[in-house]
């Protein structure tokens, strides 16, 4: 259910911004806003997902609270984004998971660990779980091949379907014909902006994060998380290739591609998530939205736990703790992927869609003006 008061206030604030425009050098939100004169819910949804929450505009704003106009764009955009995630998820009944996201994510993750543990105990027995395993295929002795591959694949496909549905609904809501997506120039520009975190650079100034001073700390930590995640994804994909096509079974040697990539990614994720959590902890709460805050913390914590348990498993894989750690790690990974469509990861999908829309608009404007 869209929050009509929020939409009304969003239109009010954007009207003030559009009459001022001092912040147009910071990011994409303001040039996109300048293409409009009025702001309906679809416009606001688009602008909100274009916002990287760098907060430069908040500290630069002559109308920020306590000014009677009370302009607080980062907070407004965060609230609107939380609404986007709720509204475009599928099935609708699951949107409730966004409301108390930290609690939901914790509960699902704990439940996942317990289910994996219960299944292992039920089918494999505690002797196997607590034994020391050496050599190829040791992980499968604790959790059999089918159990380790089929449920995760199903969970991943489920998440993918939900995001495709969400992205298409978002695209339609913001009045984009699906055919417009076939625009290589726009896709390239959006991809470049996304991978470079172009709008965490504040037009050269950096983010006003965690507080009023300009800093690149958030951008670099986000890079560590994002590229760490990609490296881990690559490690998993290579491992799957080894396993399915070459018949090499994990665990792999310390200097094999999956382990090197996975370890590098894991360290990136640990440093990145701890850094982002720390920055968030000390950050100014005035431009923040509390429901988004919980969502951020839950997702970062889960990413941290995933890499932390993964690295611990690597370090202790030749001891009797391996079985327990494997169970915990798989449980955490399951929790991460089950909650992926119902948590902060959603920002990847909607922000990319918004960047594509922005690139299309800007390319069109550039063609007109040249």
């Amino acid at each position: 259910m869209p929050d009509f008061d929020l939409v009304k206030d969003g239109a009010r604030q954007m009207t003030i911004c559009n009459a001022c425009r001092y912040c147009e050098g910071y990011c994409a939100v303001f040039p996109a806003m300048e293409q409009r004169r009025t702001f309906n819910k679809a416009d606001l949804t688009y602008l909100a997902n274009l916002c990287f929450d760098c907060r430069d505009c908040y500290y630069a704003c002559q109308y920020a609270p306590p000014h009677e106009f009370g302009v607080n764009v980062p907070k407004l955009m965060s609230e609107l984004r939380a609404d986007t995630y709720r509204e475009f998820t599928w099935p609708a009944i699951m949107s409730g998971l966004f409301n108390r996201n930290a609690l939901a994510v914790t509960a699902i993750t704990v439940a996942s660990i317990l289910i994996v543990l219960a299944l292992v105990l039920l089918f494999q027995g505690s002797d196997l779980l607590f034994a020391t395993h050496l050599g190829e295929g040791t992980f499968y002795r604790v959790v059999p091949f089918v159990a380790m591959t089929v449920p995760p694949s199903l969970i991943a496909i489920y998440g993918l379907v939900i995001f495709v549905v969400g992205a298409l609904r978002f695209w339609r809501e913001t009045q984009g014909p699906v055919a417009a997506l076939v625009n290589p120039a726009a896709l390239w520009r959006a991809t470049k902006d996304a991978f470079g975190l172009a709008y965490m650079k504040g037009g050269g100034a950096g983010c006003n994060y965690p507080a009023e001073q300009f800093s690149r700390a958030r951008m670099w930590h986000h890079h560590l998380v994002f590229y760490g995640f990609l490296l881990d994804f690559a490690a998993t994909s290579i491992a799957a290739f080894y396993d399915h096509f070459l018949g090499w079974q994990a665990p792999y040697p310390y200097f094999s591609a999956p382990v090197v990539l996975g370890t590098t990614g894991g360290i990136g994720l640990i440093v990145g998530t701890v850094g982002l959590l720390y920055l968030k902890w000390i950050s100014d709460r005035a431009p923040a939205d509390s429901s988004m805050f919980g969502m951020d913390v839950a997702f970062l914590a889960l990413l941290f736990l995933t890499s932390f348990t993964g690295l611990l498993l690597l370090a202790l894989r030749e001891t009797s703790a391996m079985g327990t750690l494997l169970v915990i790690h798989l449980g955490v990974v399951a929790g991460l992927f089950i909650t992926l469509p119902y948590g902060k990861f959603a920002h990847v999908v909607y922000r990319y869609a918004a960047l594509v829309r922005y690139s299309i608009e800007q390319l069109r404007a550039e063609t007109h003006s040249s």
Partner: protein
Amino acid sequence: MADSNYVYDVLVVGGGNAALCAAITARRAGASVLVLECATKDFRGGNSRHTRDIRYMHRAATDFVISAYDEEEFWRDLLGVTGGATNEHLARLTIRESETLGDWMPANGVRWQKPLRGTLHLTRSNLFMLGGGKAMMNAYYDTAAKLGVELHYETEVRELKISDGDFLSAEAACNGRIGTIAAKAIVVASGGFEANIPWLKEYWGEAAENFVIRGTPHNQGTMLKQLLQHGAKPVGDPRGCHAVALDARAPKFDGGIVTRLDSVPFGIVVNKKVKRFYDEGEDFWPKRYAIWGKLIAEQPEQIAYSIIDSKALPHFMPSVFPPIEAGSIAELARAFEIDPNALVSVVDEYNRSAKGGRFDPGTLDECRSEGLDPPKSHWARPIDTPPYYGYPLRPGITFTYLGVAVNEQARVVMQDDRPGKNIFAAGEVMAGNILGRGYLAGFGLTIGSVFGRIAGREAARHAGF
């Protein structure tokens, strides 16, 4: 509150651009500096927090300006707007000294914005601060703090002890407590008096009650009055103020940029008695908006109404308050509580006179009224396409021209034309020396920055640095 036994090298009164430029410069020279800002931290920076760009002299294009803007062109532009109400010696000093601002400001934390398409028309002569004036002030406050400038918010200097052009001490109030601060030199950079309605009434009568003040409510002119009472020589027309047409729904203070209205050239403007009173299409709006404040100030109840139709809407920047919308002219009049029949006949008369000629908002077009009094010289299209829109207008005061005379060292000049010993002034409080009339976009910041730096340098020098 500052310790009354401690003597600072330099006391800076005010917390805007000129004050911080003075404080930073004096501190860099080695002086101990105390800045007293009247506002809270959130509202610090006076009118500078509402600024956007600064005019400066430059010999070539850079990443941020598209071509050269030399001393002579700058001077001609200044001469044009002031009609000669300027001190050429100080004006040329300001222009020449402005050349280094393009580097000095970034060296002190300010960031420039690359020219974007759209709203910026001043990409030749002016540098735009990334994020605008408040971001600039944030940078200056940050720099000042790092340099060790001492700063107190919510501290209002009320009285100056001056003896024969020699500043002795200042009396300041903070949280209800009064303290005395002694300093070897003082820089007064606390703005004009445009927020002081009783003072404005001395020149404008009761009409001043209906003025909207675009900037800070703290520009009460207390320091200006103190300096004048202690024998400083005044400059500038005391009645003079930069007054523009604003949306009448604007807040009384600190509405800043967003309450301005650019609709006037695309329709007609009537007063409370439903009479047109000036040629709405005389010239491009940026060249005319500053006369409309005074025009409206002279109308009954200091209010006017800009009337347009839906054809006009795309031709001007959106403003903060939505226009009043109506299906007919009479309905629009009723919304404004003015005589509907009178407005219908004024619009009819105007529409009959608007006989064509090609409409082009980008030029001084041939689309003018015939036989209308007062005429509408350009952009005179009939108001005939509903829905109709209207904006209520009031005079909005940006700044006042009255100030104290200074010399090229920013020293305040006394009535006997001798400069004071250790009293310096920068910013709006002395801008009238250079800008006695009219306005050039971004030039207020130029004067404040140049004279702020000079005042800081000379005050530190006086203190032995």
